[in-house]
Symmetry: C2
Subunit: 555 residues, 2 copies
């Protein structure tokens, strides 16, 4: 069965039944159909948040199809429910754009999925659309102010850093010249579009503590400079009120269900290579308010997702995970051991052993946070007993508990061993996490600490442009912000070809961007793109729907 066939083989329960499991009264729900609902923010209770157990699911350095963090998160939540724990998975919303690129959704897999999966992967409850509108309203207001005779702020169009966004893999929008067509068309300037998941509005939505905070953060967005060099913010354009109105529903977490009828909260979806890579703080707190175990994930490998989850999200939210689950696959370890993507479904114990340092590197990084770790081997049909034994033995040697998980094949029942290890680890956790750097460190020091402690690298080298940008942003008073690294997800280093556990490398920062609304400094390592393109044969060409509404070719 394909993902979509499995997803559609289960009839969803009415979402009010799912809400009842969490103790949410029916009248508080805002329905989107019978299987999706928004939960009002007023339900969040900081006292209950303190008593709940937060579990972070992260991964080793992934192969392009990913190693199954979402599948593991959902399977683990289902398993904990089987064990009579009150557990909820809290995950990111998929981006629509990539669905039409390479076949595959982002709502789990096999028997560990959230449903309704087609809706979740497409328009869902409209959060991405609302983010796009808020982002692009600010762009329209900037364009309009530059055009204005009577109310001009004197914005120098060459300095505008705020870009439009669209949730579509459209390389043609990456770099454009806008506002052409003569006097009525505006003042021509170079600009471009980011994909919506890389927009600062997405980052803000995921960092906001409530609607008021969201509005204030929108006002604090840095837009560009005036002709005489004064910084211009969104609030100077009186943009934040209308932006917040556009986001008034998007800020509320979404409730759906797993295939096993357990609750799942899905909210916010910033990419992890170019943004903070984790769902909204509000969704996590909502999950923690409503359950004893909140299982959440952070994108790509632990060098990206987990690092930012700890140093940006948990620090800002005042929360700390009790256990970190590190997802590994036999296939990816063979890939790190030098095998090609085509070869990794064949048994190869030697390649596997050669790939183990990648796992070791992630364990070493995660240990720096001082939180118990459990390795979860996400099982594939192609794994052999000999291979599994090698990984299990290696984890034992490193003193890290390990569980083999069959979330894809068996759902919650396939993740009971993992759930047992997670409960044990959680009970053993006595401390809050240790951040990698202090907010008082200067930016260069923050970067070096991340590079050494998390990546296992040596020095951080700034380009001349990066140096001058950093000087400017520090002079503006933003040196105490956390850093949100934009780096390839394919390597610990900034060179995507260096698989495994590279050593003796430097991290090269090409540029800095600043997200003064979200509250990050963004160092860009290497050639990171914020607007993807479609592949030679886009998945869109295979996708269709017949007159009865049956969808084919999607996932």
């Amino acid at each position: 069965m394909t993902e979509i066939q499995i997803a559609q083989s289960v009839t969803p329960k009415h979402i009010k039944e799912i809400a009842a499991k969490l103790g949410i009264p029916e009248e508080k729900l805002e329905y989107y159909g019978n299987d999706k609902a928004k939960i009002p923010l007023a339900i969040i209770d900081d006292e209950k948040v303190k008593e709940s157990n937060l579990i972070l699911v992260t991964a080793i350095t992934p192969t392009p199809p990913g190693e199954g963090k979402t599948t593991t998160s959902i399977g683990l939540a289902d398993a904990l429910n089987i064990l009579k724990k009150k557990a909820v998975a809290v995950i990111r919303e998929p981006s629509l754009g990539p669905v039409f690129g390479i076949k595959g959704g982002a709502a789990g897999g096999g028997w560990s999925q959230v449903i309704p999966m087609v809706d979740i992967n497409l328009h869902f409850t409209g959060d991405f659309h609302a983010i796009e509108k808020a982002n692009n309203l600010l762009s329209a207001l900037i364009e309009n102010n530059i055009q204005s005779k009577s109310r001009s702020l004197g914005i120098d169009p060459r300095t505008v850093v705020w870009k439009r966004c669209m949730d579509m893999n459209d390389r043609g929008l990456r770099n454009i010249v806008a506002a052409l067509g003569g006097k009525a068309g505006g003042v021509p300037r170079e600009t471009g579009f980011n994909i919506t998941a890389a927009s600062e509005i997405m980052a803000i939505l995921c960092m906001a503590s409530d609607l008021e905070d969201l509005k204030e953060r929108c006002g604090n967005i840095y837009v560009g400079d005036t002709w005489d060099g004064k910084a211009v913010f969104a609030k100077d354009l009186n943009a934040e009120g209308a932006m917040a109105v556009l986001l008034k529903d998007a800020i509320k977490p979404n409730l759906v269900q797993t295939l096993e009828g357990n609750p799942a909260i899905i909210h916010g979806g910033p990419f992890a290579n170019i943004a903070q890579g984790t769902n909204s703080i509000l969704a996590t707190k909502m999950g923690m308010t409503l359950s004893d175990f909140t299982i959440t994930e952070a994108g790509f490998g632990s060098d990206l997702g987990a690092e930012k989850f700890m140093n940006i999200k948990c620090r800002a939210a005042g929360i700390s995970p009790k256990t970190i689950v590190l997802v590994a696959t036999i296939r990816a370890l063979k890939y790190h051991g030098g095998k090609s993507l085509k070869e990794i479904t064949q048994e190869d114990v030697e390649a596997l052993k050669k790939g183990l340092p990648n796992l070791e590197g992630h364990i070493a990084s995660l240990k720096s946070f001082g939180i118990p770790i459990v390795v979860s081997i996400n099982a594939f049909k192609s794994d052999t007993e000999a291979e599994i034994q090698v990984v299990e033995d290696h984890c034992k040697k490193l003193g890290v508990p390990v569980a083999l998980s069959y979330g894809w094949e068996k759902g919650g029942n396939g993740c009971l061993a993992l759930a047992g290890e997670v409960i044990k680890a959680t009970n053993s956790c006595t401390d809050e996490f240790h951040p990698t750097y202090s907010l008082d460190d200067n930016v260069q020091t923050k970067l070096e600490k991340i590079c050494k402690t998390i990546y296992g690298g040596e020095n951080v080298v700034l380009s001349d442009i990066a140096k001058s940008q950093l000087r400017k942003y520090e002079a503006m008073g933003y040196g105490n912000l956390p850093v949100c690294m934009a780096k390839t997800e394919k390597s610990f280093s900034d060179d995507q070809k260096r698989l495994g556990r590279p050593e003796h490398f430097d991290i090269h920062i090409r540029e800095f961007e600043i997200a003064t609304g979200a509250g990050f400094i963004v160092p860009i390592a290497g050639n990171m793109l914020r607007m993807p393109g479609l592949p030679a044969t886009p998945a869109a060409e295979m996708i269709t729907i017949d007159k009865d509404g049956t969808i084919e070719g999607l996932f």
Copy 2:
């Protein structure tokens, strides 16, 4: 009280109660919150459509704030309900972009509104967003094919007529150069964005007879030409299946309620000056299936909305209105009599008399359709008895029934006289409408018939470019399509300064576009823009929301 205060003073009934009034079983509804729902297409019943009475509401040439077609439509539907008729208003969805430009929504006014008005004016059920995604997916596929080495259709980038769209008043996107940034960024070319309401996808959604037809129409969209001059369609890019998947929910009409708790269907919102200007055929048929009186409106003056409603929509759908309500205001007639917008709230019987030819012109145009007409004077506080008397006497002289309507001030109770006249007129209707032109006429003849019969003009003059485009489109076999005129809404002519009832004018066609998916030829008269800008002081600056969710500055 402001529009928003009135709208928020009424607690909406649960939408299932509204659905029950129409006989829709609760389990067939797809909820969007408690006050909005989508209605499945399977409910449409062509036999019931034949038995229902369709009422079209149109208007004289409007002043910029509009003359109250939507207010009248809602008030009339409420009045018919008071008179124990089963009646439903079927209207267009507002566009979000203009909400942030000039203050004011598009969901009726005063006590004749549909609610929840904030939602309806912003994201609503996401239909506009879905249209935008389908439109822009096609753009991304075009860009990707131009970039492709292995699967290129040989599209000449200079010929691509398909534009991206965004529901935002953003003049900076009107004309752009896209796909810059070197080899990875695509092949640079001139292009631009239309506002979503002007997109062909919006037109298609409103013309489609079902999901299958929608998919086929998406495939038929003309994109541009190959280097050797062969036309390229969306189906050549295998785009239509994925586009239809994105539109699978947007195609379903939306159910909301009037302030008086009567059902209203809102679906599709193409602008009337640059597109067909009326809600979807499916929504109209849904309304006709579920009620005895379906009240619908078509945008701007009768020269635009009503003409296209008849010759494009009704002809395609095989339906015919039984009565046409022509909305006039004393204020607008004084405007046509030479007064400025500031002066029209002062009594001025002479100016009013000078403006009456505009009303006469619209009556003359509408009479050509052979359907009974009722004039509705949409009352304003500034109207005087003497002024009202002049208009009533003039209508009587012309043999057209007239009713004074107080929809804004009194809701349905303010429209009882109009409802009485509409019932009388509907009972007197014995024939189907006479179209202005035959589909077999050539395009030039179609245009001349519209110009003479509807606009009261003389000749239709084509620019050299328009002539060569028309030759091309006729050679491609599209000469038998209906025409969808893009013309200013401010005058019967193509010169927006010629108010009243201009005479001895020609219509100048600058260009032709072709909408082969929607099924129109689009002649563009004068300088029509498909992407508006924001005004000097955008409404967005006044809009805000406080921590309790109370919205200010919107409407």
